[in-house]
Symmetry: C2
DNA sequence: CCCTTCGTTGACCAAGCGGTCAGGGTCCGG
DNA sequence: CCGGACCCTGACCGCTTGGTCAACGAAGGG
């Protein structure tokens, strides 16, 4: 399968054998398509072409596999996006870069992304997933701070910052429900279009769309 | 439980006894919180205070319960929203009404809504769910036609209509991941705020926000 | 009075689940 | 040649799953 290695480079603890990476990337695809409960350890083993016991040799249990994927993928997302924010640019240009980078990440690590965004948001205690929530919060905090900076700089009108942040994230998080990988507009372009729409608005009299189209 | 009767009035075929409604509304809550695979027939029976066998007396199998909820809820959504579009108004005012009505529907029939939007989008053959897809398409077609009308009327600038429609729907469909029923802004108000942001844009120089605030 | 209908139940089934375990290879350092 | 370390496997366990079935009790019409 071509897209089996659709996993971010780091997958937590650092050490990960080739076999473990294969298990993780295969599991990511299965979790993304059938959900956590809908994916059995037998499914994973069969898709990997190995015995079920081997899964338990490399991982403690089903939840550890899932947590490795979602935690690793969420942490990587934040670092991926943060590394792509142009430092000298305006706040709105950085917000645009935030959205485009998220689109790139979605395009590259599709299955892990879907598994992560599909995973339960409001978790039962589970210390394993608490760390993922922290990275999610940091990600959401980042988009809010960019909006706040843009307001302070007079680039964005004063408004409900958390709600505006949710609008931005909603557009990106919902992409996996309709976007096909090798069909239509590439995800980063979709993200850029979304930015233009959200930033400039749909309204006709809003004098065009100045901020995008440097095509970053 | 107070919110158990959180089901749209019609649930398909028309005839539905009180017990069937109880089963459907209870199942909707369980499906919404634990997912389809994560909800067992025993869970449903116990939550209803009845025996598992009785479920099979009223419904053929698990999938029929699920399909009744998601199909009924999706069909009701479309009819609910269509009934709330002001006929004489401008296209953008109708788009705003579309979003606010969706927020109202989400607020009223929370569990059925979540179960429906969480359900698989791209279905394996399953004729049972094909009808739901039709209503979903009609719903998405409605928002696209409103945007198209607004463009034709010069209220919205020319742009990628399907993408703009997806932006609108993304904001609404993602609400259930963060919105708490009795906490913060009511869902219809959130939808109205979203409309203002999307229609007028976040940009500071876009001369304020004329279209909302008749608070329809 | 009986007979049918209908809501209801507990016992039961095969299959699948997550997880365990004893052990078989294979390679490498001593 | 031995002994550990590491991958890897098939058989197995207790439990839960979706679904079936025979039967029971109350209601209601003839």
């Amino acid at each position: 399968m071509p897209e089996d290695r659709a996993l971010p480079p780091e997958v937590e603890g650092g050490e990960a054998t080739e076999r473990m990476l294969q298990i993780l990337s295969t599991s990511a695809r299965l979790f993304a398509t059938a959900g956590y409960e809908g994916t059995s350890m037998r499914d994973i083993a069969q898709a990997c072409g190995i015995s079920k016991s081997l899964l338990y040799h490399h991982f403690a249990d089903k939840d550890e596999i899932f947590a490795r994927i979602t935690l690793g993928s969420t942490r990587e997302l934040v670092q991926f996006v943060e590394a792509r924010l142009p430092e000298g640019a305006t706040a709105s240009a950085r917000l645009r870069a935030f959205m485009v980078a998220t689109g790139e990440y979605f395009q590259r690590y599709r299955w892990a992304w879907i598994a992560s965004t599909t995973a339960f948001w409001n978790d039962p205690q589970q210390r394993r997933h608490a760390e993922r929530m922290l990275w999610r919060d940091r990600y959401e905090g980042l988009v809010r701070s960019l909006i706040q900076q843009a307001i302070a700089a007079g680039e964005i009108r004063p408004l409900d910052v958390p709600l505006a942040g949710r609008l931005v994230l909603s557009s990106l998080n919902w992409m996996h429900r309709w976007h096909k990988p090798d069909q239509g507009m590439p995800a980063p372009e979709v993200a850029a279009e979304y930015f233009d729409m959200i930033f400039s608005g749909l309204r006709a009299d809003g004098q065009g769309l100045p901020p995008g189209h440097p095509e970053g």
